[in-house]
Symmetry: C2
Subunit: 376 residues, 2 copies
């Protein structure tokens, strides 16, 4: 039985779903001769460790208890009296995590999994990568920090995976890595990488006003609590930057032209969210309607996309051919068109749900298993 | 520098293109710390080996000479006086290949690559897999032989890859393997897996008669010299079977319901190809036109697809929703819709060119590099 020890950072929706997937896949993985040994789980304040990480793991009952506690909004700290787990808090967490990484890095290896949304994990990740651990990220922040931090993080390319940072579990990064490895040069990627924008642009095309569409998207739970977190384009820009860097472009967030769908005078620090939804948004309806009409008169449609081409990355509304994969896209699916030597006239297209804890965590789990040849 | 020794069977268009890719990727792979060492190349009669496979390889000049000779229609046998290569022929070929596999299997490992279209390689492949070698297939035949042979061939699942057997280089098998590994159960695959049928069904939808469309497809080089080789559906059935078996279905070719687009009385053993094209095809126009009209009256379109669902695999014309990914497909692209727990309502869609030596060979090369963690 091949054993893959694992330490999870982040017990939000994705992290908890990952633990559920690990437990429910036990019979499947056992058939494949694999055992995922979860030796530790952290939230932002605490680390729960198996009593003796070399020989023991957090058993499935403990993992489910972690999920229960975190779903209820409590801290992992409250687990301190649970079974024979060890619980560390505060500054001890990072120290202990690195200690574990050091020990496993020298012996069996360790999958160090970041399902948090924190910008603070990049340093720990760099250290554990250097200590010989495998790193899996669902967290976009460490990959979109400075180029210097990025270079460090990916300096052991066979020991890092981050499928779920773009398009959730859609096989985007894995497919791009295949193309890169076989020397098929990628000239251009254009993609709709946000379910929110996908929904919004579809509904606009159906003739609804922008203000109504954004309010409906919020009611349906398609947006963040403040929809401006989506409409700013920053999340799409992070995804675009991750793809651009994967292609070898030396870019940072500040090099990306990002189109926000609201003006500065409606920014969160100026206008409360309710005001924005009720009074701000309707002021934007006409302008967007005009753009749609103009595009339509040329036989085109508007899509909010990330475009990577000629060493540049742009995020915003583009006029696209109605009769292209992105032009035909409806609803909240993500869709990428990838142009390369092999896919020159007609792109390689990958389309599907690009959000959701289930599929995001599935992508993380597939990444972990993709390391299996490095474990014994 | 990580070295991956490689033995190639098959020097047709895909095999030669693979050798070209390997040579042109030298700088890229060198940067990644990888060296592909081609120690031998076979065609159907001969095997060219480096003079001492442990320390030497066929250098790039020799590989290009292999390509030149094979492009000109000669046998590898004519290389017998080339540099210090060794050339083996006849019954010696398999014996020598297995000897090499045995030697490398016990030491560094070997990537054994089948780019032939032969049904005779399955036994060699089974033996080299058992000897510890990695196997890469672009050849569909070994994977579509008996279930017994299939089970043997995939009995070392981490040491076999066959992306280019379905959809050429499209990341279909890699993506399905990711989904399978993370326990996302695949309920249904429906796909247009033939560029020929893709083109034919699109043109029929544009109102052209079947006989005209098939003749045009032949003139454009989209079909085999005898288009009935495509229209029989057998090639799609092999692809469908490969996907079905990947999902765990215990099926063989004889279990697949295959719809041929010509009747038995127009089969190649009854009607010469010219007769079929000129006199046979027009007799089929009305029936297909009627089916299109009937589908259209229900708001549907016809596609020639492979459908895998409920433990069954069917290949033939299906009526599909106009407004689905397959319904919107035009032209010769392949397209797969994959339905699973994560992609339940809206499928995961992979679309792109599913034929061509360049992309097929690129898929093979990506498969070889995917083994790199098994080499030192």
């Amino acid at each position: 039985m091949k054993k893959i020890p694992l330490l999870l950072m982040g017990c939000g929706g994705v992290g908890r779903q990952l633990l559920h997937h690990i437990v429910s896949c036990r019979p499947l993985h056992s058939k494949q001769g694999i055992r995922l040994r979860v030796v530790g789980v952290c939230d932002s304040n605490s680390l729960v460790l198996a009593s003796d990480v070399s020989t023991k793991e957090l058993d499935d009952a403990s993992l489910m208890e972690v999920c229960r506690i975190k779903s209820s909004g409590s801290s992992l700290h409250s687990l301190s009296n649970f079974g024979d787990c060890q619980v560390f808090s505060g500054q001890e967490v990072v120290k202990k995590a690195i200690d574990i990484a050091d020990r496993f890095g020298k012996s069996t290896g360790l999958a160090f999994v970041d399902c948090s949304a924190s910008s603070k994990t990049v340093e720990v990740l760099n250290q554990v990568a250097d200590l010989g651990c495998c790193v899996v990220l669902a967290n976009k922040k460490p990959l979109t920090a400075s180029l210097e931090a990025y270079d460090k993080l990916v300096s052991h390319p066979r020991r890092i995976r981050h499928e779920s940072t773009v398009g959730a579990g859609l096989p985007v990064i894995a497919s791009l890595n295949r193309m890169i490895s076989c020397g098929d040069p990628i000239h251009c990627i254009i993609g709709s990488l946000s379910g929110t924008f996908g929904y919004v642009m579809s509904e606009l095309e159906n003739g609804k006003p922008f203000s109504k569409v954004v309010n409906a998207a919020k009611s349906l739970g398609y947006t963040e609590p403040d929809p401006r977190d989506d409409l700013s384009g920053m999340d799409v820009a992070r995804k675009g930057l991750i793809l651009a860097r994967l292609l070898g472009h030396r870019l940072s967030l500040e090099n990306i032209k990002i189109e926000s769908l609201y003006p500065l005078e409606m920014a969160p620090n100026v206008l409360p969210v309710e005001d924005f939804l009720v009074n701000g948004l309707p002021l934007l309806d006409k302008d967007i309607q005009d753009r749609i009409t103009k595009a339509s008169s040329k036989g085109k449609v508007l899509r909010y996309v990330c475009l990577i081409e000629n060493n540049r990355c742009e995020v915003g509304i583009q006029e696209l051919e109605k009769d292209s994969p992105l032009g035909r896209l409806r609803g909240s699916d993500n869709l990428l068109e990838i142009y390369s030597r092999c896919y020159r006239e007609q792109p390689l297209v990958i389309q599907g749900a690009g959000a959701g804890n289930d599929t995001t965590a599935a992508g993380v789990l597939a990444d972990i298993l993709d390391f299996q040849d490095l474990f014994s």
